[in-house]
Amino acid sequence: MASAQPPADDAAMAALLSVLDEVHDPEIPILTIADLGVLREVRIDAGRVVVVITPTYSGCPAMHAIEDDIEHALTAAGYRDFTVETQLAPAWSTDQMSAAAHAKLRSVGIAPPTRITTDKRALLGEHVMCPRCASRQTERISEFGSTACKALYRCRNCLEPFDYFKCL
């Protein structure tokens, strides 16, 4: 989107993106909304900033907090003319999470989603790797974990329980 703009707009877009890069997921704060794939589009329409986000789960209570956080971050950075829009289609998928997001999740002991959701076994959560000892000898304890986007697993090698960020 920025490549078609004159250089002055490139700078404006870069500044804007750096502000949005400080907005984190309230439930998994190590991830930014860009890491999570919730931040779908950013554009400047005749001076007005438009931020487009997409919900992870339909009932995700974090979405409202994320919208507020975006508005606070923009206001704090001096932006006055902006809107935050929600877009449903195409539906959010864990495939949209960045490689950086996967590494960050692992670093806090959360198993990242198995990469490709078109693999049915991945969708159903088989072969989840323990984020602590990398063993694949793991078992699901519950379909749901501490948030809608996670399931609870246990490692049969190191015996530690862990959260798995489900494929969706």
Binding site: Y57, G59, P61, A89, F144, S146, L152
Partner: protein, 250 residues
């Protein structure tokens, strides 16, 4: 405005909201922690789905109402949800059996609605269908674990199935609104989902060693706003704050 279109989307929202409200009653009361979390998350998905559907319906209506007005500002006779969604939770077996029967229906329904000619509805269905698949996997697992479990869990599941079975037929008996929406390519003719639903449910019940109840009577009326005695109390709890303090926000 196309009234049938508005009503159709609003009813989809009603089913999601009322079932979500019922499931949320388990929050803090489920048999163990993981199930408490699972139940609450499923409720959240349904309430989130209701919100999207109501927002879409309100936009179709174009009268300045929003999703909160539809959820909190209507009376019992104006809700078009299936009776099965408003039935009391009963024991855990009853809640899970009902959930399974509705999950199978919703999964097929939203899979088809992904191809709706209403792009807004198709987008909502695209999100809902993924969550339905997940809900169905969980409720289907539980039906087998409890049905083919102990004598006690088996007996409770069979009793629950016998209790709610008569409320399943209503899901497939569409009215003029359903017919008009199916003809317009916006909605799905509910009857078209019946045979596949039956096959899937019978196969799962066989795995669960549960018997399919006889189809000797059935209850209906939800689409027309004719509800069971349980609906009024459910709405009283759901709507109390907004009725007492209209427009109040967190």
């Amino acid at each position: 405005m196309n009234v049938a279109h508005f009503e159709y989307v609003q009813r989809l929202g009603d089913n999601a909201l009322i079932l979500g409200q019922r499931l949320s009653e388990w929050c803090g009361h489920s048999p163990f922690l993981e199930e408490d979390i699972a139940m609450a998350n499923t409720a959240l998905d349904l309430i989130g789905r209701a919100r999207m559907l109501y927002a879409h319906a309100a936009a179709l209506e174009g009268q300045g109402r929003d999703e909160d007005a539809l959820a909190y500002g209507r009376d019992e006779r104006q809700f078009g949800n299936f009776l099965i969604c408003e039935l009391p939770n009963g024991d855990y077996a009853c809640t899970l059996i009902r959930q399974y029967l509705v999950d199978v229906y919703h999964h097929a329904l939203y899979s088809t609605l992904c191809g709706s000619s209403d792009a807004g509805l198709a987008a909502i269905a695209g999100k809902a269908v993924k969550e339905c698949a997940y809900h169905l996997r969980r409720s289907g697992d539980w039906v087998v674990r409890l049905g083919d479990g102990t004598a006690e869990s088996h007996a409770r599941c069979q009793a629950a199935l016998d209790e709610v079975w008569a409320y399943t037929a209503e899901m497939f008996n569409g009215d003029a609104i359903d017919d008009a929406m199916a003809a317009a390519g916006i909605g799905v003719a509910p009857g078209s989902l019946a045979a596949a639903w039956r096959d899937e449910v019978e196969a799962q019940l066989a795995l669960a060693t549960l018997s399919v109840p006889r189809d000797d009577w059935s209850a209906s009326g939800g689409r027309q706003g004719l509800h069971t005695e349980h609906m009024g109390r459910l709405l009283a709890e759901l709507q109390f704050v907004q009725r007492a303090y209209p427009g109040q926000k967190w």
